[in-house]
C-alpha cells in the first residue's frame, strides 16, 4: 500500500553524516562516501512514521517529507499550474 509522501533531500545541506541510512536502511542506502541514496517512489505506508523520525533526526535538517506529486527534478516543470 503506497502512501502519498516521498522522501526528499536537500543535497547542498546534506553532509553525509549517515544518520538516515543507519536508521532507515529499508529506504536509504549510503554510497561509498556515506551519502544517502534514497529509494525511488512514495514511502510505504508501514514506514511512514519511521521516515518522519528519520527526517527529525537528520543533524543538518537536509531530509524532508514531501507530498507525492511534488516533482523537483531539474528541468521538469511539468507540474506547474499553467494559465
Amino acid at each position: 500500500m503506497k502512501s502519498s509522501v516521498v522522501l526528499r533531500i536537500d543535497r547542498i545541506a546534506c553532509d553525509g553524516r549517515g544518520t538516515c541510512g543507519e536508521f532507515l536502511p529499508e529506504l536509504i542506502e549510503l554510497d561509498d562516501w556515506g551519502y544517502p541514496i534514497i529509494a525511488d517512489g512514495p514511502v510505504p505506508r508501514g514506514l511512514e512514521r519511521l521516515a518522519l523520525a528519520a527526517v527529525e533526526m537528520c543533524p543538518k535538517m537536509a531530509l524532508q517529507l514531501r507530498a507525492n506529486e511534488d516533482d523537483t527534478r531539474s528541468g521538469s516543470e511539468s507540474t506547474e499550474e499553467l494559465r
Binding site: D32, W33, P59, M61
Partner: protein, 207 residues
C-alpha cells in the same frame, strides 16, 4: 533527641540543592560528551550512532528538569535568601554573588541552546548551530559555579565526580579539536562498499 526530631531539623532544601547540583554537573558533562560523540559519529558500545544523538537529547531534557529542582530548592531554602530572578539574571544575588552568577550565566546559555533546539526547523541550521556552540561556554561556567558555590569538595567521592567530569569533558574537547583538524583534509577515498579489486589484466604490452 528523637530520630524524627533529627530528621525534621535537617536542612532538606539545602541538602537537595547540593545533591541535585552534583548530579547536574555529572549529567551536564555526560550530555556534553555525548554531544561531541554524536558529532564525531562515534559508536557507543553496540548502540547505533543515531541513538547517541537521541540519548544526548533525552538526557539534556532530563537535566532541565533536574535544574528546575536545583534552582527551586536553592531559592526556597529558608536559611539563605535568594530571589527567583537570580536563576536567570546574573549579578543580582546578595549572597555569594559571583558563585551564583556563574550558575546563572550557565543557565542562560543553556536556555538559549534549549529554545533554539526546540524550534530548530523554523530557525534553520546555521542559526541553530551558532547558538548551540554556546554550550562550549556554558559548561565551564557551570563547572566554576560548582567549585565556588559548592562546599563539599572535601568529601572524596564528590571531588572524584567533579574532577572526573572535568577530565571527561576535556578529553571530549580535545577529540573535537582533532576531528576538526582532520576534517579539513576532507574525505578523499571511498570508504565502504567498493569491490577494491581491479578487473582488467595488464600484460605490460602496448601496441
Amino acid at each position: 533527641m528523637s530520630a524524627g526530631a533529627v530528621v525534621s531539623q535537617l536542612p532538606w532544601m539545602w541538602l537537595v540543592s547540593r545533591a541535585s547540583g552534583l548530579m547536574l554537573l555529572v549529567l551536564f558533562s555526560t550530555v556534553f560528551v555525548l554531544g561531541i560523540s554524536a558529532r564525531l559519529g562515534s559508536r557507543l558500545r553496540s548502540m547505533p550512532r543515531f541513538a547517541v544523538a537521541e540519548l544526548h537529547r533525552t538526557l539534556a531534557l532530563f537535566s532541565v528538569a533536574l535544574l528546575a529542582l536545583h534552582v527551586a530548592t536553592a531559592v526556597l531554602d529558608p536559611y539563605v535568601s535568594i530571589g527567583w530572578w537570580v536563576a536567570v539574571v546574573p549579578f543580582t544575588a546578595h549572597y555569594r554573588a559571583l558563585a551564583l552568577s556563574l550558575g546563572t550565566l550557565a543557565v542562560d546559555l543553556g536556555a538559549a541552546v534549549l529554545i533554539t533546539s526546540l524550534v530548530r526547523r523554523r530557525l534553520g541550521h546555521r542559526w541553530w548551530r551558532t547558538v548551540h556552540w554556546l554550550a562550549y561556554a556554558s559548561w565551564p561556567l557551570a563547572f566554576m559555579h560548582s567549585l565556588s558555590a559548592g562546599n563539599d569538595m572535601s568529601i572524596w567521592w564528590v571531588a572524584a565526580l567533579v574532577w572526573g567530569s572535568l577530565s571527561a569533558v576535556a578529553l571530549a574537547v580535545v577529540d573535537r579539536i582533532l576531528f576538526a583538524r582532520q576534517s579539513r583534509g576532507g574525505r578523499t577515498s571511498a570508504r565502504t562498499r567498493s569491490s577494491g579489486v581491479a578487473i582488467s589484466v595488464h600484460p605490460g604490452v602496448r601496441s
